[in-house]
């Protein structure tokens, strides 16, 4: 792994947005021509319950600075998927803690099709956070340093 | 070319037909741009609440709020901090 690759992407935010709620929500922000940081990459997903714990950790390892899961919440059209997701994210948090990642890099939130303000708020907060924290590899180094001291 | 010419002729005729509503619209534009300018001028030095603007330019508060709402929709103004029970509005950008 080269540090260069990390630097290039330290400021990138990955957004997993559900097809039925959050993805159209992001489009609604576009229709309102509201501006937000451009380091945000929205992937359309059917249900974020699809991703295993490893997927999130890999993303951080690849240098993604923050991940926001924008789900439908209790309105999830897939039975049981939201509960499964919430449980999985708890486990991801545990694993992140173990590796030394700052837990705030991962957010699970519910965004509806016209929740423009909530969408912008989530992005702004995450962006501020990752600007402050820098690349995720920093967390590990910091955690290692702390452990050593 | 010739098509454009016809267009112009036709447009002229249409203007004639819609004389009344066009005049009304033009008057509206004039009043609105004056009103909007007054409001925007008030915000040059920072955000203000609706009653503050209304008092300064002697316009009913409901009318000020209506303009402000529209200007927010089209990205000219943004909502700022809250002062007591009211929000301040600021110029965008």
């Amino acid at each position: 792994m080269t540090t260069q690759a990390n630097n290039a992407s330290e400021g990138k935010i990955l957004i997993l947005a559900t097809e039925s709620c959050a993805y159209p929500g992001a489009n609604s922000v576009g229709q309102a021509h509201s501006s937000y940081p451009a380091n945000t990459y929205i992937l359309r997903v059917r249900a974020p319950a699809l991703f295993p714990e490893k997927f999130y950790l890999d993303c951080f390892e690849k240098g993604i600075g923050g991940i926001i899961i924008m789900a439908c919440g209790e309105e999830c059209p897939y039975e049981g998927a939201y509960t499964a997701l919430a449980k999985r994210i708890d486990r991801v948090f545990q694993m992140m803690k173990k590796r030394g990642y700052d837990l705030r890099r991962l957010r699970l939130t519910a965004i509806c099709t016209v929740c423009n303000r909530a969408f912008l708020k989530e992005i702004t907060q995450m962006n501020e956070l990752i600007q402050e924290l820098g690349a995720p590899s920093n967390d590990i180094e910091a955690a290692a340093a702390e452990a050593a001291s | 070319m010739s098509e454009k010419k016809i267009d112009k002729e036709a447009l002229k005729q249409l203007r004639q037909e819609r004389q009344a509503s066009i005049k009304h619209a033009k008057d509206t534009i004039k009043t609105q741009s004056q009103d909007i300018k007054k409001i925007k001028d008030q915000l040059k030095d920072g955000g203000k609440t609706v009653p503050q603007i209304a008092a300064a330019i002697k316009m009913p508060t409901s009318k000020v709020l209506l303009y402000i709402t529209a200007l927010r929709t089209y990205g000219v103004l943004v909502e700022g901090a809250k002062e007591e029970d009211y929000f301040k509005y600021e110029l965008a950008g």
């Binding site: 992001a26 509201s34 380091n39 059917r46 249900a47 295993p52 039975e79 999985r88 | -």
Partner: protein, 639 residues
């Protein structure tokens, strides 16, 4: 299913990816903020990309023709379009690709308008657009052609429950050309509606409606009616359910009581018998089982009445305390016109009607039943029914005074408010109580009337009012029928109110999560006759949609197991929220018997929970694979 030859052909076609990328200006909407030419140049040399264009309007005919020409020329076998939100034109481009003879799922849409040019500007916008297009390219690289899943569907529906909703559904489905089996537990058709007399607000006789609908059902050669029959086994999935039915002689006390009503009738068959229903066939002498194959199942299992607890408003402790259905039946069977109402030779000069008995119960105030259930819901029909009874008494028996004890009068329906007004005109006296201070029914000591009702009346500002009465009538609410066995068997979702629970009250109001099972009427919630018929028709139309084509077409986006990778952990089956959608099956592998996960596509909803838990990465959702997402992330990180 594609033959092997065809399959090879497709494999060859898609083996080496040749990606065409089409970037839209959107007439300046995109190109004013994104340097589309630069995006094109940035991605033109990415692996797999063979052509990359920009175009003023990709969605226009010339734009679409650009793609179609490249497909027809054999230049490309994958398509990426970068333009507006996929909700606007994903289907447009899929259609164009399909018309050009290519599989429409070898396509990915990059949203560079709503999520780029309309929210960002300049170099940043161009860089982000590049990343998103690169991610789309990365995704298409591993895409496989997909086909909608087709499940053969039997043109047959089983309707469970022979009440008004079941009859309605059976009739509608048959009229639509679908074979129907109507399964009713009791010996009668008509259900709870048969226990009513005149219906609010039309005054129609419930019996006439049941008779009319039953005639149509019984005369219909496409409908088979099974009375005294229950469903005892269930298997299969939408289009291909298999239900085992068991018919047996009636045993329940209620059924036997109703049977007794037939005794006085000469030829009761197919004629409405008040307070019993329609008796379409002789009861069986022995138990018998049979198996029916069906495409869909309509639940019309209805409701049962709330039975007041012993002592609740004096019920079961005083013979003068009865329920509203008892009163309705009495009024129907004794159309006398005496100046005062008489019951069992007893003159009723004053009657108290108490609303909300077994409805709108509040935890902490009301007592749950033996199973811990509390009916917190409103039963919807009792207010109007109570007012109707009150009016009937007042108009027929002017010497009988009526007192109503209520919380809120809910005459919401068309033509119902009139009953409330008429009751006022008829001098019905109203008392309003709070749930924490309900009326108290006691024996009276005065000797003039047997009972005494005391209430803290909020209409007179909380004054305690006493009324001596000859009769207390309890407006009992609805409870779901006891169908615990069916719920268990079919793993049906049940709400906190114990009624069957739809997927979503507005998006899919008559469907449950199990595709092919539909809800009709009061098995779902309290309803009146009109509402139950509406619901039954709504359920029927969903069954028609499923069955009239002869097959059910489902999204191709379902889980698929790679049997080479699967080692039979079974974690997927444990995690799957849908019963039977993914299960371990025994199969032969290298002459050994092994267990491997297998998906029933018709049951899978494609949520992907199984994907996440498979330790071997042996499962994927077709069209949305984990690898595709990983590749997209790599593309985003790289550029």
């Amino acid at each position: 299913m594609a033959s092997d030859n065809e399959k090879k052909e497709t494999e060859k076609e898609t083996a080496e990816e040749k990606i065409g990328v089409y970037i839209c200006h959107c007439g300046g909407n995109i190109s004013d903020h994104v340097d589309v030419q630069k995006v094109r140049d940035n991605i033109a040399n990415l692996p797999g990309v063979v052509t990359a264009y920009t175009n003023m309007f990709m969605c226009s005919d010339p734009g679409q023709e650009l793609i179609q020409k490249d497909i027809k020329d054999g230049k490309i076998n994958r398509v990426v379009v970068a333009s507006c939100a996929p909700s606007l034109h994903e289907l447009t481009f899929r259609g164009a690709i399909k018309r050009a003879g290519m599989n429409p799922y070898l396509y990915e849409h990059a949203n560079i308008r709503e999520q780029v040019s309309w929210v960002h500007d300049g170099e940043k916008a161009t860089a982000k657009a590049t990343s998103l297009v690169a991610a789309a390219i990365a995704k298409t690289r591993n895409q496989e052609p997909l086909d909608p899943i087709r499940v053969e569907a039997r043109n047959h529906t089983i309707v469970i429950g022979g009440g008004i909703a079941g009859l309605r559904a059976a009739h509608d489905l048959s009229a639509r050309g679908i074979q129907v089996a109507l399964v009713e537990k009791s010996p009668f058709l008509g259900g709870q509606t048969a226990m009513l007399n005149e219906l609010v607000p039309t005054g129609e006789k419930a019996g006439d409606l049941i008779q009319a609908l039953s005639r149509q059902v019984l005369d219909d050669e496409n409908i088979t009616v099974y009375t005294c029959t229950e469903v005892i086994r269930y298997e299969g999935y939408v289009g291909n359910f298999k239900l085992t039915l068991k018919s047996s002689p009636p045993e329940s006390k209620k059924d036997l009581e109703k049977m007794a009503l037939l005794a006085d009738k000469n030829n009761p068959s197919r004629e409405f018998v008040p307070f019993a229903g329609i008796y379409p066939a002789r009861v069986p002498d022995n138990s018998e089982e049979m198996v029916l194959d069906t495409g869909a199942i309509v639940f019309a299992t209805g409701f049962q009445l709330y039975t007041p607890r012993d002592g609740e408003y004096g019920f079961n402790e005083n013979p003068e305390v009865i329920t509203l259905p008892d009163l309705i039946r009495h009024l129907a069977e004794h159309p006398s016109s005496g100046r005062a109402l008489e019951i069992g030779g007893r003159k009723i000069e004053r009657v108290a009607l108490i609303h909300c008995v077994g409805s709108r119960m509040i935890p902490g105030i009301h007592e749950p039943d033996a199973d811990g259930n509390l009916n917190e819901y409103c039963s919807r029909t009792c207010c109007s029914a109570t007012l109707q009874a009150a009016n009937q008494i007042r108009e027929r028996h002017p010497d009988t005074h009526v007192f109503e004890y209520y919380r809120d009068i809910r005459t919401y329906g068309r033509g119902h408010e009139e009953y409330y007004e008429r009751a006022s005109d008829n001098h019905v006296m109203f008392f309003r109580f709070e749930p924490e201070d309900p009326p108290v029914v006691e024996r009276s000591t005065s000797g003039r009337h047997p009972l005494k009702v005391t209430v803290k009346d909020t209409l007179t500002f909380g004054e305690e009012l006493e009324a001596e009465v000859d009769l207390v009538v309890l407006s009992v609410g609805m409870e779901p029928s006891n169908i615990r066995d069916l719920v268990e068997m079919m793993k049906l979702p049940v709400g906190a109110d114990r009624f069957l629970q739809e997927v979503h009250p507005k998006l899919r109001p008559v469907e449950v999560a199990n595709t092919g099972i539909l809800l009709a009427g009061t098995c779902q919630a309290p309803m009146d006759v009109g509402e139950a018929c509406s619901a039954a028709q709504a359920a029927s139309v969903k069954a028609s949609i499923l069955l009239t084509k002869g097959y059910v077409e489902l999204d191709p986006f379902v889980a698929e197991v790679d049997p080479e990778k699967c080692t039979g952990h079974g974690l997927c089956a444990e995690a799957c929220p849908i019963e039977g959608a993914i299960e371990l099956q025994e199969m032969e592998a290298d002459a050994d018997k092994v267990k491997r996960a297998e998906v029933i596509p018709a049951l899978c909803t494609g949520c992907g929970i199984c994907v996440a838990v498979c330790p071997e990465n042996a499962i994927d959702i077709k069209g949305w694979t984990l690898k595709e997402y990983e590749d997209m992330v790599d593309a985003i990180v790289a550029i």
